[in-house]
Symmetry: C2
Subunit: 417 residues, 2 copies
């Protein structure tokens, strides 16, 4: 199914039938700030749910609690905040996360296990619950079908743009919708790392099928992006499907149509995250082909996409294939120098490990654009892998030099020393 | 043996008896430049030699040729240049490297296999041999015992300081000397990556014992440093031992004394490389203890030392243990969050995965120094590992944005298009 089979619609996570949202201001990061920082997503119908979480061995309290709830039952409501990650907060953090689920469940007449919690922000400081809980009634009472944008805004940290998408497409001749929002950024707005993504759909399907679709979609989207190579303690993708469209997916053909649509939504959001990376100026697709194994393709693409030297050269409009091949060389796979071909922005730069006769001025001109692709053919087999990434700018480092202000606020809040 | 058992002496690679050096100006990078860029080290006596080379799958022509020569016989002369890496230069690059060995061997009355070649500089451009070969007679004829500094200067690229050391110590009551120089920097002065290290000694020992000492020394020194995580195509350590001191190492005790002294020289040079990293402001020792395996200790230490976020925070004097624990969490080893203790500059910052009551102002003050240590106890076993690293500065990225000027010169030289 081509992209044009999807109609882009407004509304984000509230676009699918039977999903409501709301967001309020708690001042989690800064008590005097007026920006939205606490969001709620709620399905008016029972749903099935699936999700993926960070593989970091250090996991936020909210990740631990939400994983547990997802394993026990189906999630019907998501409470999400920015400003504090509730990570490395010990038993207190777990208690805070559980209490959030319990209090919101009571307000929404759900069991605590039907509520998930997601946080993004600074690591290591307890959550200022004294500013969060008092806002819960307002958050639950204000749920509405037109607040998809507010939900997206409340989870933004160093994101400069709201990341929201919703599509409508047809299955069995009837309209089905998928809506979503996410937050990304660098990998932190000082340590505001974290990729959070919430997806809703009014398609009806079993939990098993939804899980399969989520796994395959994440593999081809969120797992293929890197900005600074750092993996958050809080990364979460949650998908809720409530069947409110009246379309039940049972035939392999219908399931495939839905799977493709979900993968499309995920890939679009993943690209949005990269494009809005902290202080980046380039969107670069690294495409490795001809690898002997899937692992080899991934290792080579990631080595290039994560190399500080390669990324610095992109920032300077330098079409530096020498740095690219040197990163391929140390990727850990048994690549063969004399077989490596590299194209930069469609121009042949290296064949068999040595320079081609493409004039260097042409290469230089080709990378003076906001987005381009690097094609690396290892000429060893049939496997390929694509990674979406960015340049590395002096401004990124400058932006991430200190988050000390958060500690000062936490001291005022009595949450640290 | 304590460090004080070593007397620091002048002379670098020429300090040990029977080693001569010289350096000349070829204009390899820039025909009008006047800086030294071609060096020669020569032993007046037959020697044994050992070395280690980059594990990058993409290896410079000089690395390929020098490895071959080292395997065939013992190296007695080293020709080294800066300004061009002779990497990714195909058959032409190999021919150039072989011709360098052959021509220098003729001048020094050696076999070509007794000569090693080392290069550092831009990747992907052929060597401007028309400016190198004419300087060979001057280079060979000017060999002298007082030119250790010139040799060190000729291999500098983005290094801001000459890196040279020589020590004298006693074995069997007689003086033995080890002399050395190296070049490091960021990982490139635009792609002038590469760590080159040349070590000479007048101790007498077998090739097998020298190889053992070199392997163990490199493991604890050059393999424990990271500046930007990029691994060069040209990294080389070469050690020549000519026995001119009259001291022959045969007893395990004497060999151990020499091994320790060689390791000391290597570690000092490795630290010099880190301290002179491109545009760095901090020298940081990351010490992981309590790991379940050697591999786990290494993974955890390297994840912290290579994290862009952690390194950016050090640049901003931010004692950010949250970023440190998040990097430990994604290192790939099965670390346990609730067991992790972190000390920053001697102050307790995290115990059992959560913050301690050390006042944050004290932590902040403790890192406002040019050098400090991070201690991470995983509390899972007995293994430990130390990595020496630096902060990441906006100036590093700015410095590495473009090496386009090199391509322009190569075009003038008729070596590229």
């Amino acid at each position: 199914m081509s992209d044009s089979a999807y109609s882009l619609i407004d509304g984000g996570v509230c676009a699918p039938k039977g999903f409501l949202g709301n967001a309020v201001t708690c001042g989690i990061k800064n008590p005097t700030a007026t920006r939205l920082d606490l969001a709620l997503i709620y399905s008016t119908e029972p749903c099935v749910s699936a999700g993926t979480f960070t593989t970091n061995r250090v996991q936020a309290a909210c990740v631990k609690v939400s994983k547990e709830h997802l394993a026990q039952t189906c999630i019907r409501a998501i409470v999400a905040n920015s400003g504090n990650a509730n990570a490395c907060t010990g038993t207190k953090g777990i208690e805070d996360a559980r209490e959030e689920c319990a209090q919101m469940a009571e307000l929404l007449k759900l069991t605590p296990q039907e509520v998930a919690v997601c946080s993004t922000g600074v690591i290591g400081l307890p959550m200022p619950m004294m500013r969060i809980f008092p806002k819960f009634p307002e958050l639950a009472n204000g749920l509405a079908a037109n607040k998809g944008h507010e939900v997206a805004q409340a989870v933004m940290t160093s994101d400069t743009k709201e990341k929201i998408i919703a599509i409508e497409f047809s299955i069995q001749g009837k309209p089905v919708r998928i809506g979503a929002c996410c937050k990304g950024a660098g990998m932190i707005n000082p340590c505001m790392a974290t990729m959070l993504c919430f997806i809703t759909t009014d398609a009806g399907l079993s939990k098993e099928v939804l899980e399969l679709c989520v796994q395959s979609g994440v593999k081809e989207s969120f797992n293929c992006i890197t900005i600074d190579g750092d993996m958050s303690t809080n990364d979460t993708v949650l998908v809720l499907a409530n069947g409110a469209s009246g379309v039940v997916l049972e035939s392999p053909e219908d399931i495939y149509t839905f799977q493709k649509a979900l993968a499309y939504v995920m890939l679009e959001l993943a690209k949005h995250i990269v494009q809005d990376g902290e202080r980046v100026t380039k969107f670069v697709t690294v495409h490795v082909t001809g690898a002997a194994t899937e692992e080899e393709a991934r290792l080579a693409a990631e080595a290039v996409a994560k190399s500080s030297l390669v990324k610095s050269s992109w920032n300077g409009n330098d079409p530096n294939w020498g740095r690219i091949i040197h990163a391929v060389g140390y990727c850990g796979a048994p690549v063969e120098e004399e077989k490596i071909d590299i194209d930069i922005a469609g121009l042949s730069a290296c064949r068999g490990g040595i320079q081609t006769d493409t004039p260097s001025d042409n290469l230089r001109e080709a990378v003076q654009v906001p987005a381009f692709q690097i094609d690396i053919n290892l000429n060893r087999g049939e496997y390929s892998h694509k990674v979406y990434t960015t340049d590395l700018s002096p401004e990124y480092v400058d932006f991430n030099r200190s988050e000390y202000a958060y500690w000062n606020q936490a001291k005022v809040d009595g949450l640290t020393h």
